[in-house]
């Protein structure tokens, strides 16, 4: 049973919808983002550093005439830095409650793997062992041979909010 006011974790579980997920690699783990949030995937491009922003904001790029910020998910999740390779990609996602306030952000990931269909029976709630960063995780998807970490991308990007950024500074 869910109540009207949900805790973030509960919202994450509730937020899970069976469907297609884009899977990508970050360090050794495999992650998934709901495909409906993904706008496009581009190869790594020149990033103009944006001063006075948290370090996970790599900077801004020119996405066909529109400037969008890009964030480094490795830095965001506190992982060891890695060289950019030919495999390095920017996953461009659209987040936001409504069409007026859509916020387009690029996420730098090691490599993009595939698009998977994840059904409700694959879904599993986040184990309790996770720390505060677990907020970013909507849950796990247990597939035949591996486990996919499903990201709540709204939460991850939500940190780009100026108020939160001021704290990060």
């Amino acid at each position: 049973m869910t109540t009207a006011t949900q805790s973030p974790a509960a919202a994450g579980q509730k937020g899970f919808t069976a469907g297609k997920y884009l899977s990508f690699q970050l360090s050794k783990e495999e992650y998934g983002i709901a495909i409906l949030k993904v706008r496009e995937i581009i190869g790594m491009v020149d990033v103009t550093p944006l001063p006075r922003t948290p370090d996970f904001v790599r900077g801004v790029i020119n996405l066909r005439g529109r400037i969008i910020p890009v964030m480094d998910l490795r830095r965001k999740f506190g992982m060891a830095p890695a060289e950019f390779t030919n495999e390095t990609c920017v996953v461009v996602v659209d987040v936001g409650r409504d069409a007026d306030s859509t916020f387009r952000v690029g996420c730098i990931v090691d490599t993009v793997s595939e698009v998977l269909s994840i059904a409700a029976e694959h879904f599993e709630a986040t184990p309790r062992c996770t720390n505060a960063a677990g907020d970013y995780i909507a849950g796990l998807a247990k597939l035949k041979d591996r486990v996919l970490i499903l990201l709540d991308i709204e939460k991850v990007i939500g940190d780009l909010d100026p108020a939160v950024m001021a704290q990060g500074n």
Partner: protein, 866 residues
């Protein structure tokens, strides 16, 4: 025997009935009959009926002792009710008030066993239903407080109450029935007058019913309780509503409905009418300073006439009436029947304002108050007809000048009909005026004194001059309306095209190709692209005319309020600016003009004492200078007093107490007036003096990436110069490099740039790095340091210093090198809402990478505070 004593006797027999029982019945019946007779003569029909039925029933009951024993309690109760009811009715009838609202007791009938059973059944069914109905009512009433469509809920409530009333009627429950009836009336009164629904009171009413229902379920014979207190409250509400209704006439808005078939013409009408109103307003303002300029009146007349014509076609009656009466007034001025005073000009302006408000209301905004509208129409009528009120003008747009005719006979004394009639033949050029006899019925047009080109128009009938107006409109360039979002999109896309084009041009692969035709074609594409960009930009450009005209009106109003005489000269109103810029300079201009009139220009007496002309002179001009637009506001008032400004600033704690006027430059001192909270005004007036205005001015101008310069000499006046970018979308920038990053510095913020000689560089302990520039020592801010960049030059002597000015304070930005000057399209950095401090956005450079555009103001500010 009066009715009062009859009731008294009945009361007496009631007492006997209590004591003696059946023995007193005959007496009671007799007394009731007596009261019935009195009631009949006093035409208290209800009372008479109650008494008659009661007496008959009691008599019937008394015939059988056993039956009477069983119903004695009911008889006593009923007689008691009759006595109460009768005394209320008598009192009301004596006071001469209506007693129909008094609840009669239920008719007393012989309880029939069969009927009683049936009644109990009906009642049982009713109770079940009614309890639900009342619960529903309560819910509905409560939901009203949060309902979005209260009208629907209220009408639902009303229906429910109505049904209940009927059901109570069937069950012969007069008390509840009356209360329902009164409630219904109250709801009607509320909806009719659009009053706030009295949730509290209605809940009380429902509560009373619910309690009654509660009792009824337990005891079929339960009584309703006295409905009178509730009835009184409801009556008060209804009376209040009636009073409010009288008042409501005053608070309703003027509303106009347009039939669906005209919806298309409506948009057109709104646009056109606005343009006409603007024209009319500026013409009227011009006329007020040049009363001989009859062409202004003609123009205004035509504007109102056209508005009236189209509004008439669209059936916008209130608008038509207002336009019509204004036209009549103007017609008086045109034909010189009326001497047009400043008051009349104010009236015409007010009419324009109201029409504009009414046009707003067509777009869903609240319209003007109906009483304001009526008041204005009355004033206009009075003005058009001298002082005598004229008959309410009907809205017949076809005959514009006919209703104006009565004005002739009531024209001001100096232009009485007789005087006109006599004067007419002498002045007579138009043939109509040559015949004095029908003068009262035919409008007389006298040519205005200065025979200008517009004069013939004045002597034409209104219809023709309107036709001329239409003709004039046909000469104007044809335009279409395009939504601004589409326009912005186009401009954005063209901006991208320009970038893409130069990316292609600079692509190494293209540059390696050695083809004449390709080079020519690429050159051609480049030219078209630039032309396209220019064309796209020009789409967003609008003239400052409308804004300047608003200022003309403002000058007139403010000068009048301040008791000063001010002449306004406007130049360069055809200058074009980006639409967004134009929209945003209006507020700063208002503040600056108010200040100029209130603080700058002296009173006529002071001016005479100083040997100036009593009329203050204010000029508002716009012109191009370099890549920007300059808007200049210049007054010939007392000028800014540097010493006084500094003194005030120290007093207000805006400057350290040891500040010395001598060391401050003019611009440093004058810039103090932009500080929030600064005001030299001794007292705060409704015009200015709160110390907010200039602060707002600077903020707005800086938000537009503009600059303000002040030039002032004591006694000679002050000039404010607003330097604004042509457009907000594109800026002229200096592209600089620090390490491998490029930044764009808006050219507008740059004073100069130079490579410093090592001997001019100093390091001041505690203050940081400084450089000597032409005698001044300026602080050096390293872009590299501010942005925490790892690469980039460290040796100041190797790089370039760019001198920028922020709030009158100069400082230097240190960069590696200057790459060149370029126009760039400003783009948002896409970081949600807020800007990053020191940056105003990003620009996509010719290689497709993003360069950050510096916001010099916040950049220097943050460097200072770091």
């Amino acid at each position: 025997m009066s009715i009062a004593s009859g009731i008294e006797s009945l009361g007496g027999s009631l007492e006997r009935l209590r004591r003696e029982g059946q023995q007193a019945v005959a007496d009671v019946v007799q007394q009731m009959r007596a009261v019935e007779q009195h009631a009949k003569t006093a035409s208290l029909d209800q009372l008479a009926r109650v008494c008659r039925v009661g007496a008959e029933t009691i008599a019937a009951l008394a015939a059988d002792e056993a039956v009477f024993q069983g119903s004695q309690k009911a008889v006593l109760e009923h007689v008691e009710q009759v006595v109460q009811f009768a005394s209320k009715c008598a009192a009301a009838s004596l006071a001469g008030t209506d007693c129909s609202g008094i609840v009669p007791p239920p008719l007393f009938t012989v309880p029939d066993a069969e009927e009683e059973k049936h009644y109990a059944e009906t009642l049982g069914m009713f109770i079940g239903h009614a309890i639900g109905a009342f619960a529903e009512l309560e819910e509905d009433i409560l939901s009203l407080e949060s309902s979005e469509k209260p009208e629907e809920t209220i009408s639902g409530i009303r229906r429910t109450v109505h049904t209940l009333k009927a059901e109570f009627g069937v069950l012969n429950m007069t008390g509840p029935q009356t209360l329902c009836h009164q409630t219904e009336t109250a709801i009607d009164a509320i909806t009719e007058n659009k009053l706030q629904f009295p949730v509290e009171l209605m809940l009380q009413v429902v509560d009373q019913f619910k309690q009654f229902m509660d009792r009824l379920t337990r005891d079929v014979k339960a009584t309703f309780g006295d409905p009178e207190p509730m009835l009184r409250k409801l009556r008060a509400l209804i009376d209040g509503a009636a009073a409010a209704a009288a008042e409501a006439v005053d608070t309703t808005l003027v509303t106009m409905q347009v039939q669906g078939e005209f919806a298309d013409s409506l948009t057109e009408f709104i646009t056109e009418a606005r343009a006409h109103l603007t024209d009319a307003e500026s013409a009227m303002v011009a006329f007020s300073s040049d009363p001989s300029g009859t062409e202004h009146v003609n123009l205004t007349f035509r504007a109102f006439h056209t508005i009236k014509g189209v509004a008439g076609f669209l059936n916008l009656t209130p608008l038509v009436e207002l336009a019509h009466i204004t036209e009549t007034l103007l017609d008086g001025a045109r034909s010189l029947r009326l001497v047009f005073s400043q008051g009349d000009i104010d009236l015409v302006l007010a009419a324009g304002d109201m029409i504009s408000q009414m046009i707003h209301s067509l777009e869903g905004q609240p319209g003007p108050l109906r009483r304001d509208w009526r008041r204005l129409v009355q004033k206009l009528q009075a003005a058009a007809a001298g002082t005598e009120p004229v008959a309410v003008v009907t809205s017949t747009p076809a005959a514009p000048s006919t209703p104006a005719t009565p004005a002739l006979s009531t024209a001001p004394p100096s232009f009485s009909a007789a005087a006109l009639a006599v004067a007419a033949p002498e002045l007579a050029k138009p043939p109509v005026a040559a015949n004095p006899a029908p003068a009262a019925a035919t409008p007389i047009f006298v040519p205005p004194p200065p025979p200008r080109s517009a004069a013939p128009a004045a002597s034409k009938p209104a219809g023709e001059s309107a036709a001329e107006g239409d003709h004039k409109a046909a000469r104007v360039e044809r335009t279409i309306k395009v939504s601004t979002t589409r326009l912005d999109m186009l401009v954005d896309m063209v901006g991208e095209l320009v970038i893409a084009q130069s990316m292609v041009l600079q692509d190494p692969a293209i540059q390696r190709l050695d083809s004449q035709s390709l080079a020519r074609n690429i050159g051609q594409v480049g030219k078209i692209t630039r032309d396209l960009q220019e064309a796209a930009m020009s789409l967003r450009m609008v003239t400052v005319k409308a804004t300047f005209q608003k200022m003309a009106r403002l000058v007139r109003d403010v000068a009048g309020k301040a008791g000063k005489k001010v002449e306004l000269a406007i130049t360069g109103e055809e200058t074009e600016l980006d639409r967004n810029v134009v929209e945003q300079i209006s507020d700063p201009l208002v503040h600056m003009i108010r200040n100029a009139i209130d603080h700058g220009i002296e009173s006529p007496d002071d001016r005479r004492a100083k040997g100036k002309r009593p009329e203050g002179h204010l000029s508002l001009s716009a012109y191009h200078q370099g890549g920007s637009i300059v808007i200049e506001i210049k007054d010939d008032g007392k000028g800014l007093d540097k010493a006084r400004i500094v003194k005030k600033a120290v007093e207000k704690g805006l400057l350290p107490p040891d500040s010395d006027v001598g060391t401050m430059t003019d611009s440093e001192a004058f810039n103090l007036i932009f500080l929030p909270g600064f005001s030299t005004a001794e007292k705060v007036t409704d015009l200015s003096g709160r110390g907010v205005g200039m602060d707002v001015v600077r903020r707005n101008i800086e938000a537009l990436r503009g600059k303000i310069e002040i030039e002032s000499r004591i006694g000679n006046g002050t000039t404010f110069r607003l330097r604004l970018p042509l457009t907000l979308a594109i800026i002229d920038g200096m592209v600089v490099r620090v390490g491998k990053e490029r930044y764009v510095v808006p050219t507008l913020s740059i004073e100069q740039s130079f490579r410093p000689a090592p001997s001019d560089l100093h390091y001041l302990v505690d203050r940081g790095e400084c450089v000597r520039v032409r005698g001044a020592v300026l602080p050096v801010h390293r872009l590299k340091g501010i942005f925490g960049q790892a690469d980039g030059l460290d040796d100041t002597a190797q790089g370039i210093l760019i001198v920028v000015e922020v709030d009158g304070q100069r400082s230097c930005l240190f960069v590696d090198e200057i790459l060149g000057q370029q126009q760039v399209v400003i783009k948002s950095l896409g970081m949600t809402r807020d800007r990053v401090a020191g940056l105003s956005g990003g620009a996509i450079m010719t290689d497709g990478r993003v360069a950050l555009i510096l916001d010099v103001g916040t950049l220097v500010e943050s460097a200072m505070s770091a």
